[in-house]
């Protein structure tokens, strides 16, 4: 009974290397994309907190809404409604 341990070793090393490489590269890409999106979202929320109306808010906030900047007088502050 002969077992080709060399072939088995090759299978293990090559499949381990290729699979882990693909997974690491893809996961890194996902992490980068997600981090970029998170940074953008964080920036948006900071802007909202500090009061500068984002394009999103300007479009979506109805006039007279208690939560939107449109209900306040923008002339009170150079930075907007806050």
């Amino acid at each position: 009974m002969t077992i080709d341990w060399t072939a088995f070793g090759q299978v293990f090393v090559v499949s381990f290397g290729s699979a882990v490489t693909v997974i690491v590269l893809f996961a890194t890409g996902v992490a980068l994309v997600a981090a970029d999106t998170a940074a953008t979202a964080g920036h948006g929320s900071r802007l909202a907190r500090t009061g500068t109306p984002t394009a999103h808010q300007a479009v979506r906030s109805p006039a007279g809404s208690s939560s939107g900047c449109a209900s306040r007088d923008p002339s009170r502050s150079s930075r907007g409604c806050c």
Binding site: V11, F16, S18, V24, V30, V33, A35
Partner: protein
């Protein structure tokens, strides 16, 4: 790979496996333990053993190797047709049993490492964003698994059909599979997966552990890599066991993930008894079929009745796309037939 060991040597190989399976059984060479009977009855009896065992394990949602079932069925029918001395047990151990033990270990280690790294790299990313990213990646990784499955298992189906055509005298002994055989094999595997794959999907996707998209991507990438590399380098690893091992590895690779090791035990039992059980059924079928025409008819009728019975039993608790993600956690009892 094209040497006197026939099926055993070539059974899992990608290039030319189809014709090699046929030659291994029918030609001058002897296969893993299968003598050169060159008889259609012998092939049919072996196939019946494989089909019935595969249906039984499918009923219980246990992924068992169809290759091992096929080999077991052929060994059983060969044992009846040409006695035990014709079977090469040492080849059987080195080419089937040991790779069967190594397959899930290799895939499991690769998937475990890949899953751990994937979670580690994306730990600071938004969960929903990461989930969407890996879900997109799964389209590619699942496609690669399908490709690997085709390069491996579809070849065996083609080999069996070609063997039958050769033994029937329709094709010359050196013939390669005709186009219609290739298309039929591909279509049959696709249909079988689409129609009956849900039980196995539930087991691997829900009963082993609750697979998330990151784990799915890692398991599929690992499985595809291991199968393609082993096919290319000619080391026989079972597709079923590679995929199952990868799912367990992916389950264990996520922190705090709960892996149902009881299900692993059930699978291990099913894998252990697959060859002997298929051999017993194949041997019995050969024993009856070799008695004459009436025996052949009895075998075919009995096989059809058993297969229909298993199918009807499966309809009591159908599993399909609508309920594949439901229930799973409580482990089912080990199949009595095992």
């Amino acid at each position: 790979m094209r040497n006197a060991h026939g099926v055993a040597e070539n059974e899992y190989d990608s290039p030319g496996t189809d014709s090699l399976v046929a030659r291994g059984i029918d030609g001058e060479a002897s296969s893993v333990g299968v003598p050169c009977a060159g008889d259609r009855l012998f092939t049919v009896a072996g196939l019946i053993g494989a089909i019935l065992w595969n249906l039984l394990t499918w009923l219980f949602g246990l992924p068992s190797s169809s290759s091992h079932a096929l080999l077991g069925g052929l060994v059983g029918s060969a044992w009846v047709a040409a006695e035990a001395g014709a079977i090469h047990f040492d080849t059987l151990v080195s080419k089937v049993v040991i790779p069967a033990v190594l397959s899930p270990v290799v895939a499991g280690v690769v998937a475990l490492t890949g899953t751990y790294l994937a979670y580690r790299l994306t730990r600071r990313a938004r969960k929903e964003q990461a989930r969407r990213g890996f879900k997109t990646g799964q389209v590619l990784s699942a496609s690669m698994v399908s490709l690997a499955h085709g390069t491996d298992d579809a070849q065996k189906t083609m080999g069996v059909i070609t063997l039958t055509l050769i033994t029937a005298g329709i094709l010359p002994s050196t013939a390669s599979p005709p186009l219609w055989v290739i298309l039929s094999a591909g279509l049959a595997i696709a249909l079988g997966t689409a129609v009956g794959g849900w039980r196995i999907i539930r087991t691997l996707g829900k009963r082993v552990t609750d697979i998330q998209t990151t784990q799915g991507f890692a398991a599929e990438t690992s499985s595809a890599a291991v199968i393609l590399v082993s096919s290319h380098l000619g080391f026989p690893l079972s597709t079923t066991q590679v995929c199952s091992g990868a799912v367990f590895g992916a389950g264990a690779g996520r922190r705090l993930a709960h892996v149902h090791w009881g299900v692993a035990g059930q699978m291990a039992i099913a894998w252990t008894v697959t060859m002997p059980a298929a051999a017993v059924v194949g041997g019995l079928a050969a024993l009856v079929a070799l008695t004459g025409t009436l025996g052949i008819v009895m075998v075919i009728v009995a096989a059809a009745a058993l297969a229909s019975g298993i199918y009807l039993l499966s309809r009591r608790q159908p599993v399909d796309a609508r309920n594949v993600n439901e229930l799973p956690t409580p482990a089912r009892p080990v199949p009595a037939a095992a």
